[in-house]
Amino acid sequence: MISETPRPLRPGEGAVARLSCLALQPILSRVVRRIAKQHSSLFARLGPHQTTDFLIDPVELPFALHLRPDPQALVFRAVPRHAAPQAGAVIRGRFLLLLELVDAEEDGDAAFFSRDLEVSGDTEAVVRLRNALDDMEGSLAEETAGMFGPPGRAILARLRRAYLNTSTGEEDA
């Protein structure tokens, strides 16, 4: 089960979340623009759910990610969890697990069976997003890290090490 579930905010936490979101936004915008350009075929697999609002909720981070994969008006932004928009579908799990799922390093169904991944809302939207991302060639994590040169790659390697050290190993296929 996912242990870190949303809980009431501690004093000052809201401000930290808002600042993290502001700091992250330019990076997220660059990432999503790049994906849209290099992996444009993924939109076809989304079908009618190009205009669905997805909330991707990395449980251990102070914010969530709002994605609307509309090729005409792409939205990918960090939002403080308490101010997240009403989403059509929610995907919740540890940050690195979510990243590994996008990169096909982990299997979404296995993470669901082990209860490390939770989905709620419109299941068809989640299935479409999952299939669209799974058909993407290459590693989104590597590409994103690569955009920031050696420091970016070093941060990714550190995140991965931390994830492997704390993971139970159950999801490791």
Partner: protein, 332 residues
């Protein structure tokens, strides 16, 4: 010894390339419509994607099998005929069919392409299998998962075609191609629309105590405790309450997957030509992990070495595995 071909799932072009690169002898896939039994949202191939995928697979010596393994509703055969025509034009190596009408159309129109009889046809007796071979020229039967290895060995002696068996993956409970449970709840037919528990009818509800309910068309199929492993929201693996079982019980079967890795030598010895891995709806990560593990195992056995199959339990539904009827008739 049989050829022991490894037949691997591909739900997307990227998964197909992954399966080919991981050592598949053949991949099976379908179009984005009701002509195949994994008609899931966002999954499967457009004709253009299939064309490119056939080129990729053939360049690496891997065959492509096109699943046309659903049943056309009466009078609505055009979609299946067009899919067969497209597949033949793109150079697929075989069609996997369940319906006699579809088999007959392909046998007459595209006799140069091999016909494999899908597990969805539920042909489990020598008489039934021989009928398909004699009437439509079927070259291979995918056996239903209800037979023991001695039974498979006996059938092999009595039929004129190759045998394929499932060795890993999701495992339905009812007679293949005949289950109407999804139809009963959602109005959509597993066998004609190509989807069991359609995602559009599935909902997961998380409760404050960490437990999770999975629902299909508003009916609760199962409720998992905070630390309990979960399964697919399929009716046959649901947990239900009844007056005499107020705590809830698995009326048909619990979430569990087939894993025959330990029976591979016996299956090869029994004359099974090809081993099928289930999972077109699964990720590239699953395809890579399972195909690599079985590739290594089959190669070891062919070379006379003991197979050391990787632990695949993390990839199984409910994280539990079974050898089903292949080991004993007591299963179910």
């Amino acid at each position: 010894m049989s050829l022991a071909e490894l037949i691997c799932p591909a739900g997307t072009p990227a998964a197909l390339r992954t399966a080919v690169d991981a050592g598949a002898d053949a991949v099976y896939c379908g179009f984005q419509d009701a002509t195949n039994a994994r008609n899931f949202p966002g999954l499967n191939f457009t004709p253009d994607e299939l064309a490119a995928s056939v080129v990729y697979a053939h360049a690496k010596g891997t065959k492509v099998l096109l699943a046309l393994n659903t049943y056309p509703p009466a009078g609505k055969v055009d979609l299946w005929r067009q899919a067969a025509d497209t597949g033949a034009r793109l150079g697929v190596d075989a069609f996997i069919v369940a319906d006699m009408g579809v088999a007959d159309y392909i046998a007459r129109t595209h006799p140069q392409v091999r016909l494999h009889l899908s597990v969805q046809a539920a042909a489990s007796s020598p008489e039934a299998i021989r009928y398909y071979c004699e009437s439509f020229g079927v070259k291979r039967v995918v056996l239903p998962r209800i037979l023991t290895i001695p039974e498979i060995r006996q059938i092999r002696k009595e039929i004129p075609c190759e045998i394929e068996t499932f060795i890993f993956g999701n495992h339905g409970l009812m007679v293949e191609g005949r289950c109407s449970l999804t139809n009963y709840l959602t109005g959509q037919s597993t066998n004609m629309d190509g989807v069991c528990s359609p995602a559009s009818d599935v909902e997961y509800a998380r409760h404050a105590d960490g437990s999770m309910a999975s629902q299909l068309a508003g009916f609760t199929i199962d409720q998992f405790g905070p630390d309990e492993k979960a399964g697919y929201p399929t009716i046959c693996k649901g947990r239900y309450t009844a007056p005499h079982r107020p705590q809830g019980y698995y009326a048909f079967e619990e979430p569990v997957s087939l894993n025959l890795s330990r029976l591979l030598p016996e299956l090869i010895e029994a004359g099974v030509h090809a081993f099928k891995i289930e999972g077109r709806q699964r990720s590239k990560s699953y395809v890579r992990g399972v195909v690599r593990a079985f590739r290594a195992a089959v190669d070891d056995i062919k070379a006379g070495r003991e197979a050391n199959i990787a632990d695949l339990v993390a990839l199984t539904e409910g994280q539990k595995q079974t050898q089903g009827a292949f080991e004993t008739k007591k299963w179910r």
